[in-house]
């Protein structure tokens, strides 16, 4: 399904045309606690590489991802490689190969690191422990520690590792660099880049540098609606647009 | 059956009863057809519901018997309102207050000793007649002018047990639960058998204990001449088994009160080794009233049992009080004090001084009958032999 090699973190031109989407979302609405938090979102996740989902705080990025996972009440169509998953329960969505890295890491704090990984093992898949331990050697050292006592960054590693362990068709990754030290931000960026070689990623990210490095495509939300689609570089290169939609103007040189 | 439906009707809706009672108060002087309201507060539900059922069946038969089947006194019906106390003192007090508030002058019932004590209080505070049910507590004897009883009391149970004491055998050990019931029995044994020269000691088992084996062993080590067991409740089967397992029956005769028929199973295989004192079982007394009662109760679809006579006697007492006292409380008290009558347990007397109900008691044994057990009469202990000492005060 995924080509062996994908141009790494470069040109957005590789992805276009509706046939190349692994996940496509149409007219998504979602509710939390009786309120509509996502009003109307259309988005497509390219079959390869990283698609970024951007927007300011509280516009509904996390909610969109949760809605795709079926973690909150939703309606609209969500098409995963030709199959509508908008009515499936969460575990079915996950079993179809959707990996999820939640915003607040959500590691199981009472379980040890290795248990956190073991629980993520999905039946009928190879489990890529070598890959995971190669990316995060620290997890091997801390295998027995309760995940709740890990530092924020270490927890983030566990959370990413859980998603990378299985052979997924798409990864939904919500703010993976939040609270990470700069070196680790780069590290995570590299991990995601490597992951994106084998599996398409929908990435929510506030760190625009990371977005710039990774994403081919960008979708921007405002007030629970998707208001912009287009190549990531093009979007980030437009200071007016970013000022309007993200409240920050990005110069062409990429400083934020 | 139809009497059941009547009762249902009157319980059904408190509102109706209240109106009736209101009407009653207004037209009391007019005499004639207005019914006499009588309130019975007993355990229809709750842990003692089975006793309540026996009591109620007896009561209905008793009223029927005493009014020659009319249920009326001089053309005025006796209208009984039943209230469930669920074995719960607060519920009983609430029901009593409700009924007293509706001008009920006669209340009866209850199986639970604690409730009987509370009801006696209410009777005195509000100056109404109260005829307690099967509750065995000695404390309501002589407690006040307004309180009577239609059953036996612990002192009579124990006195009956005394008839098992043979000649010089005189070391009695009471094996009882350490609660009001058990302590009451111990006190009674002390008062009755101790007074007759027996040396009384006790093995009191904490009420909450669930494992009786060690206590049974202790009982055996006490080397008694007679063992008096006072036990109530669900744990009795276990207790008897423990006595047997620790070979207590080899040491001395074991005496206890015979409960109602459902408890016969609880004794298990040791039943044959126990000497029972008994308040009542259908085959114990041999007299017309008892025969009539057994027939009436069976006809009504229930089975006479341990506390059926308590209800029956209550019925007789209510009819006597109303006939002689016509609803006036003091007159009714006068009518009952010292009254001697033929009850299901033979000649029965309400002692004037403290309202103790003097009646005969029985000793019995259980014999196997196929898969189950049936009681067999050993002896009848005359009423005067088991009369409790007169209670002071009143």
């Amino acid at each position: 399904m995924t080509p062996a090699s994908v141009p790494e973190t470069t040109a957005p031109e590789a992805v276009a045309g509706s046939g190349d989407h692994i996940l496509s979302v149409r007219g998504l609405t979602a509710h939390v606690a009786g309120q509509q938090v996502v009003e109307h979102v259309d988005l497509e996740v390219a079959a390869t590489g990283v698609t970024a989902l951007l927007g300011r705080n509280g516009v509904g990025k996390t909610s969109t991802i949760k809605a795709i996972m079926g973690l909150i009440g939703r309606s609209g169509t969500i098409d995963l490689a030709g199959q509508d998953i908008s009515t499936l329960p969460t575990h079915k969505v996950a079993q179809l190969g959707v990996g999820y890295v939640p915003e607040d890491r959500e590691v199981f704090s009472a379980l040890s690191v290795s248990e956190n990984l073991r629980i993520a093992e999905r039946k009928g898949h190879d489990h890529r422990y070598e890959l995971v331990y190669d990316l995060f050697p620290e997890l091997k050292q801390r295998a027995g520690q309760a995940a709740g006592t890990l530092s924020g960054g270490q927890q983030q590693m566990v959370s990413l590792a859980r998603a990378l362990l299985n052979d997924n068709r798409v990864l939904l990754v919500d703010e993976p660099t939040k609270g990470l030290a700069p070196r680790l931000v780069q590290e995570v960026g590299r991990v995601l880049a490597r992951a994106a070689e084998v599996v398409p990623v929908l990435l929510v990210e506030q760190n625009l540098q990371v977005v710039r490095d990774l994403a081919h495509h960008a979708v921007v939300l405002t007030g629970g609606r998707s208001v912009h689609h287009g190549p990531a570089a093009e979007f980030l290169g437009d200071p007016d647009l970013t000022q309007r939609l993200l409240g920050v103007s990005t110069g062409a040189e990429g400083s934020i | 059956d139809d009497s059941d439906a009547d009762n249902g009707g009157s319980n059904d809706d408190g509102g109706t009863t209240a109106e009736n009672a209101g009407g009653d108060g207004d037209s009391e002087d007019a005499g004639g057809g207005d019914p006499y309201p009588v309130g019975i507060i007993y355990s229809e539900t709750g842990p003692l519901a089975a006793y309540g059922e026996q009591y109620k069946a007896g009561l209905e038969a008793g009223i029927d018997y005493a009014t020659d089947g009319t249920g009326e006194i001089d053309g005025r019906a006796i209208e009984i309102t039943y209230r469930d106390d669920a074995g719960n003192q607060d519920t009983a007090v609430a029901a009593a207050k409700d009924l007293i508030g509706q001008d009920y002058k006669i209340l009866g019932g209850t199986i639970v000793s604690g409730i009987a004590v509370a009801m006696a209080d209410q009777a005195e505070q509000n100056e109404i007649l109260y005829i307690s049910g099967p509750a065995a507590v000695d404390a309501i004897t002589g407690v006040n002018d307004y309180t009577f009883r239609s059953g036996r009391q612990s002192l009579q149970d124990v006195a009956a047990a005394g008839s098992f004491l043979e000649g010089d055998a005189n070391k009695v050990v009471v094996y009882a639960q350490d609660n009001a019931f058990g302590q009451g029995n111990l006190a009674a044994v002390d008062a009755v058998l101790g007074a007759n020269g027996a040396e009384v000691s006790s093995v009191m088992v904490p009420e909450d204990a669930t494992e009786f084996t060690p206590f049974a062993a202790q009982l055996k080590d006490a080397e008694p001449d007679m063992i008096f067991v006072a036990w109530a409740g669900a744990t009795s089967a276990n207790m008897w088994q423990a006595l047997e397992q620790q070979d207590v029956f080899d040491v001395a005769p074991v005496v206890t009160g015979l409960g109602d028929s459902v408890t016969f199973d609880a004794y298990g295989p040791v039943a044959e080794n126990i000497s029972f004192l008994n308040h009542y079982f259908p085959g114990a007394p041999d007299n017309e009233v008892n025969t009539a009662m057994v027939e009436a109760v069976e006809e009504a679809g229930s089975t006479p049992d341990l506390f059926t006579p308590d209800g029956f006697v209550a019925g007789q007492m209510i009819v006597q009080a109303l006939t002689e006292g016509d609803g006036d409380v003091n007159a009714m008290i006068d009518a009952l004090e010292g009254w001697e009558f033929e009850g299901p347990k033979g000649t029965t007397t309400i002692r004037e001084s403290d309202h103790a109900l003097l009646q005969e008691m029985y000793t019995a044994s259980l014999v196997a009958d196929g898969d189950s057990w049936v009681p067999e009469l050993i002896d009848t202990v005359p009423a005067e032999d088991v009369a409790p000492p007169e209670a002071s005060g009143k």
């Binding site: 606690a33 927007g55 300011r56 705080n57 509280g58 915003e103 607040d104 620290e138 006592t149 890990l150 530092s151 924020g152 960054g153 270490q154 983030q156 703010e175 939040k178 609270g179 990470l180 030290a181 700069p182 070196r183 680790l184 931000v185 780069q186 590290e187 506030q206 760190n207 625009l208 540098q209 993200l246 409240g247 920050v248 934020i256 | -």
Partner: protein, 246 residues
């Protein structure tokens, strides 16, 4: 504020080792270090949430090592948490008012009632205006978007009139568009409210723009505490923390 020889061991693992440094009154100091270096733990020790195995914490010349969390707070120590920590079921305004009534005294009184015009309430409203939440007073704090929760935390912090504040990653998860605004609020902590500030932050641009000195933690050890430039130039910091130059 001064800490000396702080160490913490949990079940054999040395999490912090002999940390000593002083922060003169009124200074802003940044704390950086790789994830898991012990920054949050350091804050927990200073604020009393955890007890050190050895070492002392001195606040305004007083040794508070054996004081409870509450006593340290009363002594003027305020902090925020790495993941926002507010009272989710209470309104935004009430969150701040609770904090404000502490500095006013009699916070736990059974005989004082919160009222529309009282000092704590008006102070809460002022502070909420200051951090830019003026129009969200009635919201349930738990429903605020992430960035606003961070602002709310700062408002609560301000309300307690702290002299020393510990900020644990105040910028984490804040949309890039809001970073500048929040930075100003933090700066004002220092300039307008005269607080001594110790802050953990991975957002280097923000940090470097604010602080006077930077402390570097690495594997539970204090590597350096120096001016930003000096620290940034340190090769160990480069490799352990920053990675390749940004």
């Amino acid at each position: 504020m001064e800490v000396s020889d702080l160490s913490l061991k949990i079940g054999g693992a040395q999490i912090l080792e002999d940390i000593s440094f002083t922060v003169p009154t009124g200074e802003i100091v940044g704390v950086i270090g790789p994830n898991g270096a012990g920054k949050t733990t350091l804050f927990n020790l200073i604020s009393g949430v955890m007890t050190p195995t050895t070492g002392r914490v001195v606040l305004d010349g007083r040794d508070v090592t054996n004081r409870s969390v509450t006593q340290r707070a009363v002594a003027g120590l305020g902090r925020t948490f790495q993941t926002s920590s507010v009272f989710p079921a209470l309104s935004v305004e009430e969150n701040v008012r609770l904090a404000a009534q502490v500095s006013e005294g009699r916070a736990l009184s059974l005989f004082t009632f919160p009222r529309r015009g009282d000092r704590a309430t008006s102070r809460a409203r002022d502070l909420l205006g200051e951090v830019g939440l003026g129009d969200r007073m009635g919201f349930r704090a738990g429903d605020l978007p992430h960035g606003d929760k961070r602002k709310l935390e700062i408002a609560m912090l301000l309300a307690t009139d702290p002299s020393v504040v510990l900020l644990d990653e105040p910028m984490a998860g804040v949309a890039s568009g809001d970073v500048a605004g929040l930075t100003e609020v933090i700066r004002s902590l220092h300039t307008d409210h005269g607080c001594t500030v110790l802050m953990v932050e991975h957002h280097m641009e923000v940090l470097l723009g604010l602080v006077e000195r930077v402390a570097v933690l690495h594997f539970g050890n204090l590597l350096a505490i120096d001016s930003p430039d000096a620290v940034m130039a340190d090769p160990t910091v480069q490799s352990a923390y920053l990675g390749e130059p940004v």
